[in-house]
């Protein structure tokens, strides 16, 4: 594994577009290829904002600090450019695209990665898709369904994992992928992430979650606790375990102490 970080943020600050209040108040984060980082925090802590800022959601804007991805200034890139550079965000609430099959969607996404005038080989694509679906133990008919249209919560998350498998990102951000999932669906997601990372060990993963339970199935290398827009503690998996016992209360107190100081 390389020592150069794939993602490096410094004092990253952000808010909801055109609103006064900052949600991220200076986040420093370094993720190296192959590492799994978990960011945990209570509701409203800014953890999901971090995911959206990194993916380039137009509803959020950076107010300060920096973010570099693979040596490039991430904040200078458009959403689609970030994706093509290797950033992938699995959505908390994936959007339905009626009339567009998953296969068509992925084909279009891969085509978009090619130079103008270059054509995606459809036979190659078909092979890749089927092979990825087999790896993830999905039925080939799943790819014929319209993207997220009428999907259950679990199916939507499986679709996110499939996209991640086909698009092969350098950094996969899982934005509260575990929310609203029953334990079986959660296991499917976790198995997907683990399978893909085993296959491509250089893939970095940023798990954004409220709950510790996802980390029972995906073993993080680093855990960060974010409260009120700042990372207040970083460490190994033991940080998550302590959260399971004590919740976020002590961090909130810590935070108020820091603010008061």
């Amino acid at each position: 594994m390389s020592d150069a970080p794939i993602l490096k943020t410094a004092s990253l600050r952000a808010r909801v577009t055109e609103e006064e209040i900052e949600i991220l108040k200076g986040v420093d984060l370094e993720i190296r290829p192959g590492e799994i980082h978990a960011i945990m925090g209570p509701n409203g802590s800014g953890k999901s904002t971090l995911a959206k800022i990194l993916a380039g959601h137009p509803g959020y804007e950076v107010t300060g600090g920096s973010a570099f991805f693979d040596g490039q200034d991430l904040l200078e890139l458009e959403t689609d450019e970030r994706a093509r550079a290797g950033v992938f965000m699995a959505f908390q609430y994936p959007v339905a695209i009626p009339g567009v099959s998953i296969a068509n969607f992925l084909r279009t996404a891969l085509q978009a990665r090619l130079e103008d005038g270059e054509e995606l080989d459809l036979f190659d694509f078909q092979d890749i898709l089927l092979e990825r679906m087999e790896l993830l133990e999905m039925s080939p008919s799943f790819a014929e369904r319209s993207v997220n249209d009428g999907f259950s919560g679990g199916e939507k998350k499986r679709n996110e994992i499939l996209q991640m498998a086909v698009l092969e990102p350098a950094l996969a951000i899982m934005d509260e992928t575990d929310s609203g999932l029953d334990i079986d669906a959660l296991k499917v997601v976790a198995r997907g992430v683990n399978t893909l990372q085993k296959e491509r060990p250089e893939m970095a993963v940023l798990l954004i979650t409220h709950y510790q339970r996802l980390l029972n199935y995906i073993q993080p290398d680093f855990v960060h606790v974010i409260v009120d827009g700042r990372i207040v503690r970083s460490g190994g998996p033991e940080v998550a375990l302590s959260l399971e016992e004590g919740g976020y209360r002590e961090y909130r107190q810590l935070q108020s102490t820091v603010s008061a100081a």
């Binding site: 993916a55 380039g56 959601h57 137009p58 509803g59 458009e78 959403t79 689609d80 970030r82 994706a83 093509r84 992938f88 965000m89 959505f91 994936p94 959007v95 339905a96 695209i97 009626p98 009339g99 567009v100 068509n104 969607f105 279009t108 996404a109 978009a112 990665r113 319209s146 993207v147 996209q163 698009l167």
Partner: protein, 454 residues
């Protein structure tokens, strides 16, 4: 037959829409040499035309399409080329291409500038008694068929200014007759091309499926762009016998500068099923008056509409599902995307007559606006005079969802590609409700062409 024998009291004031081209002399010329019943039918239609004023925006059905601004009947001259014999090797490449894309058929009709120039039918179909012919030919070869049905039951000439105009001045068209119990395994393809600027075209299509017949018709209308407005008024009558199955599709891909007005009416018999798809992509102004009459118990009508406007195109769809008998069902879905400064109107009504109990009728119109200047008017309506029915209607006018676009962009699609994919899916949803076949592929290609300009 001369006009004076049936002429009624002269109308007061100037006759609206009577021009140097559209006049009694034109009826006279067309009626010359025709059997009496037909000439009489033309004159009756002409009289209805004369006494009917041109629709204005004061009429509900024409509120958003101002003919005084959009249609200049005075500027139109008769189509010239249509009177010339056209040999196959002089057919325009666009027409040949459209036919090549969808060649497989039970029969072909090619209509150029208001005249049928080619008709073929498989020997197998002919042996079963199927008739596919130009109207001009059928007048003499199948007079009884035309006398009974042409401009009679489905689109009688007294139902408005333009049904009268077409019935008075049609130059040619197609008749398809499929006898009882006969199944056509492939569609009949009618390809129409008009090319003279500032010309008026009036043609008709008559489709008759007898009891237990199964048939499919695809009509395609093409033209180049026009500097001076060309006006194409077509009338399609579909008579679906008891227990028959009819698939109909029309694809309008005329050039800008054209005004296409289509009258379509289906009469659906007992336990018969008609499926129709109406695709509007071309012409500067397109108006469709669509009516499906559920005439007998158990009749079923499934109606799909698809439109994609761009530049300053204006599409006006006026639909009605008339439930005249009990236990009939109808389901209409119209979806359209509007780009640039294009606009659309959808006015649909479900009418349920007092005796039409146990009616199931649905009507949905969905519009997707792709630009700030685009507009869509959606006016669904119900008129129910029976008490044991299930009817629903709904309409939406929406824009591209930012969250959906972000989702696609986050997978590497540029904003443009993302928009195109959403529009493609929105419209594909309509085509996916048709059995897979070449017309849907052709429409998909035409949509792609338009999307590339978005």
């Amino acid at each position: 037959m001369s006009r004076t024998s049936t002429l009624q009291a002269p109308a007061a004031g100037p006759l609206e829409g009577v021009t140097a081209t559209i006049n009694a002399a034109a009826v006279e010329r067309l009626a010359a040499g025709e059997p009496d019943w037909l000439a009489e039918r033309r004159w009756r239609a002409w009289e209805a035309y004369e006494r009917t004023p041109l629709p204005t925006t004061r009429l509900e059905e024409w509120r958003y399409t101002d003919l005084s601004r959009r249609l200049d009947l005075d500027a139109l001259s008769p189509a010239a080329r249509g009177t010339r014999a056209i040999s196959r090797n002089t057919w325009p490449p666009e027409l040949r291409q459209a036919m090549r894309e969808d060649w497989d058929a039970a029969g072909h009709i090619v209509e150029i500038d208001g005249r049928v120039v080619h008709a073929d039918l498989t020997a197998e179909a002919a042996a079963q008694g199927v008739v596919l012919a130009s109207l001009r030919e059928a007048v003499h070869a199948h007079p009884d068929l035309l006398r009974e049905h042409l401009a009679a039951g489905a689109i009688p000439p007294d139902q408005g200014k333009f049904s009268a105009l077409n019935a008075a001045l049609w130059t040619d068209g197609t008749v398809l007759f499929v006898p009882r119990n006969v199944t056509l395994p492939l569609p009949v393809r009618i390809t129409r091309w008009v090319s003279d600027p500032a010309a008026a075209y009036f043609t008709r299509t008559l489709v008759i499926g007898e009891d237990w017949a199964t048939l499919s018709v695809v009509e395609e209308i093409l033209s180049p762009h026009f500097d001076e407005q060309a006006f194409f008024l077509s009338a399609t009558e579909v008579l679906a016998g008891d227990n028959s199955t009819t698939h109909y599709a029309s694809v309008q891909r005329m050039g800008l500068g054209a005004f296409h007005m289509a009258l379509y009416r289906s009469l659906v018999g007992r336990d018969a099923r008609t499926d129709s798809l109406h695709v509007t992509l071309g012409a500067s102004t397109a108006r469709l008056d669509l009516n499906s009459e559920l005439a007998a118990p158990g009749a079923h009508s499934h109606i799909l509409g698809l439109y994609f406007g761009s530049e300053d195109q204006h599409f006006d769809h006026c639909t009605s599902q008339n439930h005249a008998a009990p236990h009939a069902t109808s389901d209409l879905l119209y979806k359209g995307a509007l780009d640039d400064a294009s606009g659309s109107v959808f006015r649909g009504i479900i009418r349920v007559s007092p005796g039409a109990q146990r009616t199931d009728a649905y009507q949905t119109n969905r519009n997707l606006l792709l630009s700030e200047e685009a507009s869509a008017h959606a006016l669904p309506n119900l008129e129910i005079e029976a008490d044991d029915v299930r009817c629903s209607h709904g309409a939406t006018v929406g824009q591209l969802e930012e969250e959906a676009l972000f989702y696609l962009q986050s997978r590497g699609l540029s904003r443009r590609r993302a928009e195109r994919l959403v529009v493609r899916g929105f419209l594909q949803d309509v085509l996916q409700r048709r059995p897979p076949g070449s017309v849907t592929e052709k429409v998909t290609r035409a949509i792609e062409e338009k999307l590339r300009a978005h």
